[in-house]
């Protein structure tokens, strides 16, 4: 885990004081809401339907028990006793009072946390693989690189008023667990001739014009990571469209120029930027890497006792292999039956913090699928961890199953939404409540957005749902065949939309068809890709 030094702390502390002053000016009437808006937005504070919503950054989704407990404390003291983990690996609080916000941020700063650049047209929180440092298939831990990018992008003077928001992901494995190619820049660490470098994918994104990022540079040497990123951003800042908010993301620029021409312009800018010596020395990456050294793994490998059937089901579904023998990766589902995807109570957040401290070398991760990970649990402790989770209502064994739904807050909270997402997620989960049926359906990533902005990643769902407003009533479009993983693809709209109950029925017709058509070992997505769209369309609309 990265630890702040005096410089990091001074910058975050200065931000707290700056925001305190901005809030004071606003409350004193010295500035209008219009003038205050860009300031609060740069600090993750949105005015939503009912109250202010504060988005707290969790850099690359990694945090320790002290930080997790602070998130619980904030939920208790400043919100209604819960928090909402998001697809951006962050946490959001939905009921924040403006006048309490400066104190809240000051408390976050005491545990090296902040809300800097969690909104606004700037470089947002860097996302990464939730299994970083634990996965057997990674060639390096991507988080030191993500931390380098975090520092470089924090208060970047040139890139704080970009055409639109900007999201960067860093991964280091071929299995893409962080929807890397659906980011504005997706960076995959790779090795070439024994040297570590990065492949740059630029111009992915969701929203109303979803795009899968094309590869624009197959190998950027480690020492050029920041100058190459700076070149990518400068071309975008200068030439990205500003005439239409819906065409302002970098994906539109890359699409309109063509990946090759964009890459050429970046190359030209890079030749110039590289000469400015803006890259930190190798010693800085090494300094950061030291914080992410593997923990002292010392547990012997054990044969697991699977005699408790509920435990065995959870093991098979939510526990993943670790690179270190004797250890495992535990996924904690925040998708209990009938719950709100991504929500956790302060008591549950505390439970997860305690388990991390005791059993996972004090580390937790937030996933883009709105779940929590304990990355380093000794196999001999798995049963105890499972029991503690079950007691807290956190042992739902549904990772990557149909009820492990990604959903945006939707019209229940969000001022941009056209339709509610949460009730639809709850109805689907109830329809498929039988755990055996879910397991029989296998991996099925279902993602729901309550508007075209696609915070719920509906384009990347094996089954996606998009809520729209149709003549004043909520209507739900169904999409099939998307994926945010290494086999990235965009879902295709099936046809006319449905009512809330209608879309649940339609999904059941799709899964029934899948069961009828599937070959041995095929996931829904595999069957869909093999047989194509038509059989499913026919099943839905008859």
């Amino acid at each position: 885990m990265y630890k702040y030094d005096q410089y990091d702390q001074a910058i975050v502390d200065a931000r707290v004081e700056e925001f305190r002053d901005q809030v004071r000016r606003r409350l004193a009437g010295e500035i209008t809401e219009d003038q205050f808006k860009p300031l609060r937005l740069m600090n993750g504070l949105y005015l939503q339907l009912h109250a202010y919503m504060l988005r707290v950054a969790i850099p690359y989704g990694t945090l320790d028990s002290r930080q997790m407990r602070m998130l619980a404390h904030i939920a208790r003291k400043y919100d209604r006793d819960y928090g909402h983990f998001t697809t951006r690996q962050n946490i959001q609080y939905n009921w924040i009072k403006l006048e309490e916000c400066p104190d809240l941020l000051a408390k976050l700063a005491t545990v090296e946390m902040h809300a800097i650049q969690t909104s606004g047209n700037c470089i947002r929180n860097i996302s990464s693989d939730q299994y970083a440092g634990a996965a057997a298939d990674e060639i390096a831990d991507p988080r030191p690189w993500a931390e380098l990018l975090r520092q470089w992008s924090t208060f970047h003077p040139e890139f704080s008023y970009l055409p639109r928001k900007f999201k960067i992901a860093v991964i280091a494995a071929d299995e893409a667990r962080a929807a890397m190619r659906l980011h504005d820049i997706g960076i995959q660490l790779i090795e070439r001739d024994g040297t570590l470098g990065a492949a740059f994918y630029v111009g992915g994104g969701m929203g109303r014009t979803p795009m899968i990022a094309p590869l624009i540079k197959d190998f950027v040497p480690a020492e050029d990571l920041l100058s190459y990123s700076e070149a990518c951003l400068r071309v975008y800042n200068r030439h990205g469209r500003r005439d239409n908010i819906y065409k302002a993301r970098i994906k539109i620029l890359v699409h309109e120029l063509g990946a090759e021409e964009y890459a050429r312009q970046v190359e030209e800018e890079f030749a110039h930027v590289k000469a400015l010596n803006i890259d930190p020395p190798a010693a800085e990456l090494e300094r950061i890497q030291a914080f992410f050294a593997p923990p002292p793994f010392d547990a012997a490998d054990v044969e697991l006792d699977r005699s408790d059937p509920d435990f065995a089901v959870w093991l098979d579904q939510n526990v993943k292999p670790h690179k270190q023998a004797g250890y495992a990766i535990v996924n904690i589902s925040l998708k209990p039956l009938g719950g709100i995807p991504g929500d956790a109570s302060s008591a549950q957040i505390d439970v997860m913090a305690n388990l991390a401290e005791r059993y996972s070398f004090d580390e937790l991760r937030v996933t883009h699928a709105q779940n929590i990970v304990l990355p380093h649990v000794a196999k001999r402790d798995l049963y105890a961890v499972w029991q503690a989770l079950a007691e807290a209502g956190l042992a739902e064994a549904n990772l990557d199953l149909i009820s492990d739904i990604i959903a945006c807050p939707g019209l229940d909270y969000c001022s941009l939404a056209n339709a509610r997402s949460i009730p639809v997620a709850q109805k689907i989960a109830r329809r498929f409540a039988d755990p055996a049926r879910q397991r029989d359906l296998g991996e099925l990533k279902l993602k729901i957005s309550g508007c075209i902005n696609a915070c719920g990643h509906h384009h990347a769902g094996h089954i996606g749902i998009l809520g729209v407003d149709r003549k004043g009533t909520e209507n739900y479009q169904l999409l099939l065949g998307g994926s945010g993983a290494e086999d990235a693809s965009l879902g295709k709209i099936t046809g006319p939309g449905f009512s809330e109950d209608g879309v649940v029925d339609a999904i059941e017709r799709v899964t029934d068809k899948y069961v009828a058509l599937r070959a041995d070992g095929e996931r829904f997505l595999d069957t869909y890709r093999r047989v194509g769209f038509e059989p499913f369309k026919e099943a839905i609309y008859g």
């Binding site: 410089y7 200065a14 208060f155 003077p157 040139e158 930190p280 010693a283």
Partner: protein, 147 residues
């Protein structure tokens, strides 16, 4: 145009004391050889000025709306090319942008709406550490960490 601020930076009066030449448009500048002040709109290429930096005393970069951040890149490009004259941000320039603008190389500001001097001073003094090199010569923290 409002007051130009930014002490201890150059502080010419926009009304002119007979000293400052009015800034001409980029097209006009490129057409005439004797102008020493030019105004750059957000969509104009700062690099077009690079061959002429030696004779320029003032480059005014327009910010018609604070959201339009192209001027930050223009400023850095000009400083990176060695421009030493006055670099002015004009238009929808807000107090909370001044520090970023300064880091990108601006050394004078002509905000359309007047700014409170105290708030300006506090805002410019707030961050004494920065994470990345820019056009202001401030040492990034990695340099402080590693010497």
């Amino acid at each position: 145009m409002g007051d130009v601020i930014g002490s201890p930076l150059p502080n010419p009066s926009p009304e002119g004391e007979g000293l400052e030449q009015p800034a001409v448009t980029l097209d006009a500048f490129l057409d005439q050889s004797n102008a020493t002040a030019v105004r750059l709109e957000p969509d104009e290429d700062a690099r077009a000025l690079i061959p002429h930096l030696g004779r320029l005393e003032l480059i005014e970069i327009a910010f018609p709306a604070y959201r339009d951040g192209r001027g930050y890149s223009s400023a850095r490009i000009l400083r990176e090319a060695g421009y030493k004259g006055e670099l002015r941000a004009q238009g929808d320039v807000l107090v909370d942008q001044l520090a970023f603008m300064k880091r990108c190389g601006f050394d004078s500001f002509a905000p359309e709406a007047p700014l409170n001097d105290e708030v300006v001073a506090a805002s410019l003094a707030r961050y004494d550490r920065v994470y990345q090199p820019a056009a202001d010569g401030a040492a990034p923290v990695w340099k402080l960490r590693h010497g």
